[in-house]
């Protein structure tokens, strides 16, 4: 539950905690504690073999306890003040008890309520469709977003970033970033209006690399408090005054807060075991410092920039189960595939992630951030439609059955990842006049849906 009292408490602690060098935090404190937690709580995942969606409740509960201990022992480091922000176990448990189990985003007829889900829950996940920060040329920005807003199963949108604004390069923490934030608000809202969904909630401000764009664009005529506003925790477990300034503005404007933390596989947290604990502990810390409504963690592979490799998916599944079984937190999964529009590989990756998330108790899906979100305009609304359909079909699926299908999908796409099949940009998979997928992309989508039916997924 966010309020000014808790905000002031976080800001006070960011100025009164013990002083630590950032290098000591990165190189000693975090990796040593992460290694200690894995040994202490017995959270090895190696015994699971090639399982992606385990059905071991005791393991999920141990991972939750390890994540809780991590949040208590580590806390968060504030880079701007060189201070260590810490919370007692009692404070953490009280905040977890008070966390909301649902949040309504968007306005009017387009508002949507995201709710807590449990492991193997038959309720549908919220689908937050969009390219998640993928760079888009200015002239394509509106049609790309309209391709998501027009999809009926997309409950909220997540914005892309602009490559340029008024034809100029965008530089972070500069007047250009302010203009980009405003341009994002104007064009994405226009896309929603054109799609006949003017109140659709927007994931924003994606162009707010620093605080200036969030502060300017979340104001009268820009983004609304009912959009879902992003605040990041810096990896690993760090914040700074730019993030806390965004937070302060969002608390005082009564805005919905979505915070995220993107750990890197093989980074300070180590391998899959450390990553599972880091996801749980990271979500708890996001709740503690940012008073978050919805939380997401999007781990990245150090060489592919994706989260669809087996070891990362396993870590996500275990962590999502841990949080679903033991907390009230609303947790989302960001889908970051290697492949891009026009390819079967993209659809296999999206399906595997959606099925894994549905069975693991995830509340919302975000994305897909196709082609790892780094290739210009390599995103389209069709993959969001597909992901939502698969997510709905997978709701209520037992974990063992989900695991069987996910492993078969993995066998189809894993050998392709080395080739980086980024596919085609938006203008080559969609008709820019009708905003419908071109026949080849539509046909691929239909074929992969049929393959999923053959694999036993009850897809309409």
């Amino acid at each position: 539950m966010k309020n000014t009292t808790r905000l002031l408490d976080v800001l006070d602690r960011a100025e009164s905690g013990s002083i630590i060098e950032e290098a000591q935090w990165d190189m000693q404190i975090v990796p040593m504690e992460m290694a200690r937690l894995q040994a202490e709580f017995g959270t090895s995942l190696s015994q699971l073999g090639d399982t992606i969606v385990p059905d071991d409740d005791a393991l999920a509960d141990r991972v939750f306890e390890a994540g809780l201990a991590m949040a208590e022992r580590l806390g968060v480091y504030c880079v701007s003040t060189s201070r260590h922000i810490r919370f007692t176990r009692q404070e953490i448990l009280a905040a977890l008890d008070a966390a909301p189990t649902e949040v309504t985003i968007g306005e009017g007829l387009d508002r949507h309520t995201e709710r807590k889900r449990r492991v193997e829950d038959p309720a549908f996940m919220t689908m937050k469709g969009g390219g998640v920060g993928t760079p888009i040329p200015e002239e394509l920005y509106l049609p790309v977003h309209q391709s998501y807003a027009q999809e009926p199963l997309v409950d909220a949108m997540i914005n892309c970033t602009l490559e340029r604004v008024y034809g100029r390069e965008i530089r972070s923490r500069s007047p250009w970033e302010v203009l980009a934030g405003w341009h994002e608000a104007e064009l994405t809202r226009a896309a929603c209006r054109r799609a006949g969904r003017p109140g659709l909630a927007l994931g924003c401000v994606e162009n707010a690399v620093s605080d200036v764009s969030e502060l300017s664009a979340t104001s009268y005529g820009g983004f609304s408090p009912y959009d879902w506003h992003h605040v990041a925790m810096i990896s690993e477990f760090k914040t700074d005054y730019m993030a806390l300034t965004k937070l302060t503005h969002l608390v005082r404007t009564g805005s919905v807060i979505h915070s995220f933390y993107n750990t890197i596989y093989g980074g300070s947290a180590g391998g899959k075991e450390g990553m599972a604990i880091a996801i749980v502990g990271g979500c708890i810390l996001l709740q503690m410092i940012y008073m978050t409504n919805t939380h997401s963690v999007s781990p990245a592979h150090p060489f592919y920039d994706n989260d669809t490799t087996p070891e990362i998916m396993l870590a996500i599944s275990v962590a999502q189960q841990a949080l679903a079984r033991n907390s009230r937190l609303l947790t989302d999964v960001v889908i970051t595939p290697v492949a891009g529009p026009g390819t079967r590989t993209l659809l296999y990756e999206c399906a595997a992630m959606a099925i894994m998330a549905a069975a693991s108790g995830t509340c919302g899906l975000i994305g897909p951030r196709s082609a790892a979100g780094i290739h210009s305009a390599h995103v389209s609304g069709l993959e969001a439609r597909f992901t939502a359909e698969v997510g709905r079909a997978a709701a209520g699926l037992p974990r063992r059955e989900a695991d069987r299908i996910v492993r078969q999908l993995l066998a189809k796409y894993q050998p392709q990842l080395n080739q980086r099949p980024i596919g085609l940009p938006f203008q080559e998979v969609y008709d820019l006049t009708t905003l419908k997928p071109l026949p080849a992309w539509q046909e691929t989508y239909e074929q992969v849906k049929e393959e999923l039916r053959q694999l036993g997924l009850p897809l309409r």
Partner: protein, 228 residues
């Protein structure tokens, strides 16, 4: 005097043990023992340190080990260089155990540092002297640090599209100040592509930590070749 093959292998094994247990004292003792047996600092670095670090780099590239293991290697090798090899090098003026000096950081407006930290560590464990400036570094600060440290390479990281123009600005400022010939510039980070790095006039591009090391090694070899 050269170390025997058997002794070299013993020292390699010992250094690996020192890294596994993050035992800097053991690493320094091994280096000092080798030096007292008549090995030159460069011989120890090339015969013992480099093969161990190459193996560590290859295991990291296969994701058999992770950042914490790289950190241990970085800590132990830095101690070996600073406490054993560099004092000895002063007596062998023609030698240097460093492949070159690199100033590294994440560009202005960007606070992502894990990827940059991985690259910095990989460079360090592969024999470069690395000065990590941290995150949110202005173009001017990169250049001031490179001048101060007499760097060979400026390595720029960007994880966000709006921080990429600052990579171009570093090159623009180097040109404007007449310093472009003094420093090599390499770029990397998720949105940075090889083509874009070439288009702005960077000297090198690293897709990941492994390629960053290869590129810096190649650039330094070319630079030293030109100077020779």
């Amino acid at each position: 005097m050269s170390l025997s093959q058997t002794r070299t292998q013993e020292l390699q094994k010992g250094l690996q043990q020192a890294i596994d247990s993050a035992d800097t004292a053991l690493g320094v003792d091994l280096a000092q023992a080798a030096l007292s047996e008549g090995a030159s600092p460069l011989e120890f670095f090339r015969g013992v340190v480099e093969p161990v670090l190459t193996d560590i780099g290859e295991r990291f590239a296969r994701l058999e080990i992770f950042l914490p293991e790289l950190m241990k290697a970085g800590i132990v090798v830095k101690a070996v260089q600073q406490q054993a090899l560099e004092p000895a090098i002063r007596g062998h003026s023609a030698e240097s155990s460093s492949l070159g000096t690199i100033v590294i950081g994440t560009c202005q407006g960007d606070i992502h540092d894990i990827g940059k930290n991985m690259v910095a560590l990989m460079l360090q464990v592969n024999g470069f002297q690395v000065i990590d400036l941290g995150t949110n570094i202005s173009p001017r600060a990169f250049i001031d640090a490179a001048k101060r440290e007499q760097a060979d390479i400026i390595a720029l990281s960007s994880l966000l599209t709006p921080s990429m123009p600052y990579i171009k600005d570093v090159i623009g400022l180097l040109n404007g100040f007449g310093l472009r010939d003094q420093f090599l510039v390499v770029a990397g980070g998720a949105p940075v592509t090889r083509e874009w790095a070439q288009s702005i006039g960077a000297d090198g591009f690293g897709e990941d930590a492994v390629e960053a090391v290869e590129v810096c090694r190649k650039l330094m070899a070319e630079r030293r070749g030109k100077k020779a």
